[in-house]
């Protein structure tokens, strides 16, 4: 679904993105990222100022994201047997203009990932920085602030 109103279009972009993840359409998902885009899960959650001076649970450029997806879709990824799937439940995204980039979108979520019969549930907030491109938007930064980021975690195999 596309909107003429750019603010609503930015909000819809995030909803559509979640659907790609929920449906495990990872190659289409990576294509949403800008060439210099990053997917970032800080280890201090919303408190973490930057990805360089403190360790993160994930801080992935296009190369690392592609590596992850290559593995997800390849053979011999033992931890993915008998399969991992995920579901994002989003609160309605809120978008506001972001100077120099385009839009910042704030989206609280609840995420469940299953491996075999084991569920892992995480809650947090997505903060997208979106830049307009020819068709819609591209992701400059997708920041995932987990509520319990600093806690010890079991493995998280997909993309909260």
């Amino acid at each position: 679904m596309t909107h003429r109103n750019p603010m609503m279009a930015a909000q819809q972009f995030v909803v559509d993105e979640a659907r790609l993840l929920n449906e495990a359409r990872y190659r289409e998902w990576i294509a949403l990222f800008a060439a210099d885009g990053h997917y970032w899960v800080p280890m201090q959650g919303a408190q973490q100022p930057d990805p360089v001076k403190h360790v993160s649970l994930a801080y992935e450029d296009r190369i690392l994201l592609a590596t992850r997806v290559q593995r997800l879709q390849g053979l011999r990824a033992h931890s993915l047997e008998p399969g991992a799937r995920s579901l994002h439940i989003l609160q309605a995204p809120e978008a506001q203009p972001l100077e120099g980039i385009g839009w910042e979108v704030y989206t609280p979520f609840i995420y469940t990932e299953i491996r075999g019969a084991l569920p892992t549930t995480l809650a947090g907030v997505w903060r997208h920085q979106l830049r307009a491109r020819e068709q819609g938007f591209e992701i400059v930064l997708k920041r995932v602030d987990l509520l319990n980021a600093t806690a010890p975690h079991e493995m998280i195999q997909l993309f909260p």
């Binding site: 899960v41 280890m43 201090q44 360089v52 001076k53 403190h54 360790v55 993160s56 649970l57 994930a58 801080y59 450029d61 190369i63 690392l64 592609a66 590596t67 992850r68 290559q70 593995r71 390849g74 053979l75 011999r76 990824a77 033992h78 931890s79 047997e81 806690a151 010890p152 975690h153 079991e154 493995m155 998280i156 195999q157």
Partner: protein, 439 residues
Amino acid sequence: MSHRSPHTPSTLVEADRVHRDAYLSEAVFEQEQRRFFAATWNFVAHASQVPHPGDYITLDLAGRPLLVVRQSDQSIQVFYNRCAHKGSKLYTNERGNAGRVLQCAYHAWSYRLDGKLMGIPLRQEYAESRLSQCPSGQGLTHVGATQVYRDFVFVRLDERGVDFEDYFGASLQWLDNMADRSPVGKLEVFGGVIRNVIRCNWKMYFENINDTVHPVSTHESAGKAAKAVWGQQSESTPMPISVEQMLPFASGYDFFTQLDAEVYPNGHSALAVKFSTHTGYAYPQDYLDALAQAHGKARAEDVLSRAPQNSVLFPSIAVKGAPLVMRVIRPLSVDRMLIEAWSFRALGAPDLLHERAMTYNRLVFSPMSIVAHDDIHLFESVQQGLKAEGNEWVSLHRGATGEAEAVSGTTPCKGTSEMLMRNQFQAWAKFMAETPEAT
């Protein structure tokens, strides 16, 4: 699963195999918590975490709450984190500063930083009591022994037992090797600690740290994916640290069979001493000059040329000197463990070194790491698989002769030999069987 074992530590561990009850039995786990972790020396904190008097760290060591406190004279003391009165933990935050006095939140009993009892509300009401003859009147309880080595703080819970230097022997050189990567010989914990919970027995993780035969099959998917994606980049793309750190997981048996190792008494070891995937790191010239200036050329070269894949100070830490990374391994229950990945800053060294540390931890030890995922999956699979009937033994026969192996001083072995794990289990059986009275 409650599993009674007919075995004793000495019958669980043979020269070349280990009985599954070492990983499955609740009774063995209880004895391990009570005896093994009391008789051995375990890492608890790094001095840089508590720089100022009154700074404290809390942690759980094998089921006991501990409190590490920096003293007014700059020394470090370690207590049980338990108020002498009714047992409340004195502090529940992971870290903080207590000021000049340690005070319990429950009834306001207060202690000096060295643990001596200072104040009790309504003291006059104790006048005719026997409090002073009870441990409750004696202040905080210290752990058996504390030793700080190159700012790494270790404790032995037992009051009597093996000396620190005798216990670790030649393995301490690997803490020196990491600390001496700083021109001023100082490390600082920096950049956060990543924590994972894994549904397996902690010993499995320690075995895997010394296992050079698993990467080819376990990490095939991560290694191949990294190689394939990197191959698609244009030739002019500079190799990021992340790719440099991921590609070694695509190495084959031809690489791993060339690795050497050293084992030391009491379960310690260093894997891949002569060369490892960390040996090839490039360093800026001004750092190399500063290191040579500080330590002398020979020592500086020795430090940088020896970059083991892992050095294990059994049974709590595994150190990777070159990327300035340390893993802390803790048991949570018989089938659950915690692993922490710490990164260090070497004071006086360029930021590049610390950046390598954090990138390595993120890529390889994060709960989101595609390298760790396959390891964890297999550890958890072993924990379940061992419940199978028919074969109650875990094989450690690779490179064994069936005879007991003598380990003394520094004993070299092949990097692919399971002697590294056999050595851990010999130490495990020995300290499992120790009683405080016997030592």
